[in-house]
């Protein structure tokens, strides 16, 4: 067949060139005209060549309808309209517009050349539906947790052994409640025993049906309607990464309402998130005992109850990784238990951060943390170790020393830790000008340092780019995307990303703000692919300093021969550095 291809456009003709190439390959005869050819000339050429098809393209939307109408009139007047089929395509075209103007066919944006070829050759075109089937990944797979340097290994062994020996004959209200709760979950009626170990707010809830402030019960009707909604949600899964398998992308949720959480999760999954993290309200960390039932909360943080967690679980895609934060407060071991029973894949435990910046007493959180790590091992629930004390001003090396202790301790107990350095513009970084030139070197240095010490998965968060975000949506998405690209370039295992509402503190995060960053991260992954970001020589220098700083911190802690005292005395961060030993639960640890 013979084709005249005519770009009715001042400059754009790429699509026609591609089509021309395909037509030639298939043995057709073509005449490809340059952009900006006058319509009169096209008519003359068509009269001379008498093509089977005249293929017109139009990219620029302005004046498209008028020009295309004029062209079809000219073809009509020249007697060509009945002799040739006339097809139009391009960004400015819709099927409806083409039909209205009298063209035989119209092809809009995102048309594949296969579709056009099928039309002109009279074949069938079946749009290939690309379905992505995501599978759940084990972030810890393949890591040995070997401490690479014997000097570090000896220190970490010494500190871990001291913690285990100390915790061996100690218990807390949380540990005892967890033991009771385990039996209750097996069907034993031990509520009265459980309540003896709880604060008044929990006791009042169970005995007098008094709800905590700004908390309401979710009704059965609401739950049923929600389940109907979730069951009807269907979407094609999407993978954010372009050429690489890593990093997995996590988002945090904790709007207060399990229904809203679930909708945020579904939207995030639909736009490519691989995992989600559950954040509870801050008051939950300071209250002995957990509530029960389906509960909505009018402020940030979604209440930890088994029923709430199961509701969230029911909304998750089978491939979505789910982490439930446990480490901060007075219910750390019980939260790990409920997370495991609700089907979580991961939890979050860091006694150092939780007690120095999370408000819980160091002694209490150490004994609870050890028990929580044992549960993490028993339920095969890997745990990540965030180091957000950096945001308070603690230098990275001290935060990392704490993280490595908690990691090594967990490994000794049979659990599988994930290191979580912050990719952030922290106070320590600001004071020392580590990021005066760029945000790359110091973040790279953190990863280099950790890799030199331990063979463990690394998942920067929470979230990446902390303290670089502003309320400007474009800036916020951009900084997240660039930090994500850096994580990808470093071959890291996972990242937690913020929404573009990260710096907006006057209202709830919106789902649109989540989509913003997921789209931006996907674009960053597409842009870089396997290409790497190259740090300057400073990164190596910083890494060396961080490694030395970690070593010195561990040495002092080991020499102190008392991990808990080391926390109180500021060896993992002083008060001046923003580390303030918490008070919640102080004096509640007892010998057993």
């Amino acid at each position: 067949m013979k084709f005249v291809l005519f770009p009715l456009d001042p400059v754009h003709d790429v699509a026609l060139k591609m089509l021309n190439r395909e037509l030639l390959k298939r043995g057709h005869q073509t005449i490809l005209l340059p952009p900006d050819t006058k319509m009169e000339e096209v008519i003359e050429i068509c009269q001379k060549e008498m093509p089977d098809f005249i293929m017109v393209s139009r990219t620029v939307g302005y004046g498209a309808a008028e020009l295309l109408a004029r062209f079809i009139d000219m073809l009509d007047a020249a007697g060509l309209r009945k002799k040739c089929k006339v097809v139009v395509g391009g960004k400015a075209i819709t099927k409806e517009l083409a039909a209205e103007l009298g063209y035989d066919a119209g092809f809009g944006e995102r048309t594949s050349w296969e579709e056009v070829i099928a039309y002109v050759e009279g074949g069938r075109f079946e749009r290939e539906e690309i379905t992505v089937k995501k599978t759940k990944k084990d972030i810890t797979q393949g890591y040995t947790y070997e401490v690479r340097d014997s000097a570090f290994r000896e220190l970490l062994d010494e500190i871990s052994d001291q913690i285990l020996a100390w915790a061996k004959d100690r218990t807390s209200l949380a540990i005892e409640r967890t033991k009771i709760k385990e039996k209750m979950l097996e069907g034993e009626d031990l509520l009265e025993e459980y309540l003896k170990l709880c604060d008044e707010v929990v006791v009042s809830y169970f005995r007098k049906n008094v709800l905590p402030k700004k908390v309401r019960l979710i009704t059965k009707e609401e739950k049923e309607k929600f389940e109907r909604l979730v069951n009807r949600i269907d979407f094609n899964e999407r993978i954010l990464r372009h050429s690489l398998d890593k990093p997995l992308v996590f988002v945090q949720y904790g709007t207060g309402c399990p229904f809203m959480d679930a909708m945020h999760i579904k939207v995030s999954e639909a736009w490519g998130a691989d995992g989600v993290l559950h954040f509870d309200p801050s008051w939950g960390a300071r209250c002995e005992g957990l509530l029960e039932g389906l509960l909505a909360h009018e402020e940030d943080g979604s209440i930890i109850t088994l029923e709430n967690l199961k509701l969230i679980k029911s909304a998750l895609n089978s491939s979505t990784l789910w982490c439930v934060r446990a480490h901060r407060g007075l219910n750390t071991p019980e939260t790990v238990l409920l997370a495991a029973r609700a089907g979580a894949d991961l939890t979050k435990i860091n006694m150092v951060y939780g007690s120095l910046n999370g408000g819980t007493d160091p002694e209490r959180l150490t004994v609870d943390g050890v028990y929580a790590l044992q549960l993490s091992a028993r339920y095969k629930l890997p745990y990540d170790i965030p180091t957000n004390e950096e945001l308070g001003g603690v230098p990275a090396h001290k935060a990392f020393a704490g993280m490595l202790v908690v990691a090594h301790l967990g490994v000794k107990l049979g659990a599988r830790p994930i290191l979580k350095p912050l990719f952030c513009y922290s106070p320590d970084v600001m004071i020392n000008d580590y990021m005066k030139d760029n945000y790359v070197d110091y973040n790279v240095a953190k990863v280099l340092a950790l890799r030199r010490i331990m063979d463990a998965p690394i998942w920067p968060g929470e979230p990446i780019g902390f303290m670089t975000h502003t309320e400007d949506r474009v800036q916020s998405a951009m900084t997240t995307a660039l930090h994500a690209a850096l994580a990808s370039s470093l071959g890291l295992d996972a990242i937690t990303i913020a929404s573009t509402d990260e710096a907006y503190a006057r209202g709830a995060i919106t789902v649109s703000a989540r989509i913003d960053t997921l789209r931006a991260v996907a674009e960053a992954f597409r842009f870089f692919g396997r290409a790497r970001i190259e740090p300057t020589k400073k990164a190596e220098e910083y890494a060396e300093n961080i490694v030395n700083g970690i070593y010195e911190t561990l040495k002092k802690v080991a020499e102190r021969q008392d991990f808990v005292a080391a926390l109180y005395e500021g060896l993992f961060g002083t008060r001046e550095e923003g580390a303030n030993p918490g008070r919640a639960g102080r004096g509640t640890v007892r010998k057993c």
């Binding site: 909604l229 809203m260 006057r506 919106t510 649109s512």
Partner: protein, 85 residues
């Protein structure tokens, strides 16, 4: 997905949480931009409104306005239908 198509007709009831409006206003300063914007949103019938972001530069302000339709903990129309409004 055709979610809720049969039960909910109005756009406002399909909104998950909020409407954001981004625009550029010709105004003398940030305060002027904020006041004008909030007034405008309220004139549309929204009560739970805020200025998420504003950047003024001499004569114009780039601004993002937000009107929450549903806050966490509300009875969302996308679960409970039109009667939740």
């Amino acid at each position: 997905m055709n979610l809720l198509e049969s039960e909910v007709g109005l756009m406002i009831e399909k909104i998950v949480d909020a409407i954001d409006i981004e625009t550029t206003l010709l105004c003398k300063d940030e305060e002027d931009a904020k006041n004008t914007a909030v007034q405008y949103l309220k004139s549309l019938g929204f009560n739970d409104v805020d200025v998420v972001f504003v950047e003024h530069n001499g004569f114009a302000a780039r601004i993002r306005l937000r009107a929450y339709v549903f806050r966490p903990g509300d009875r969302y129309a996308w679960i409970f239908g039109g009667d939740a409004r």
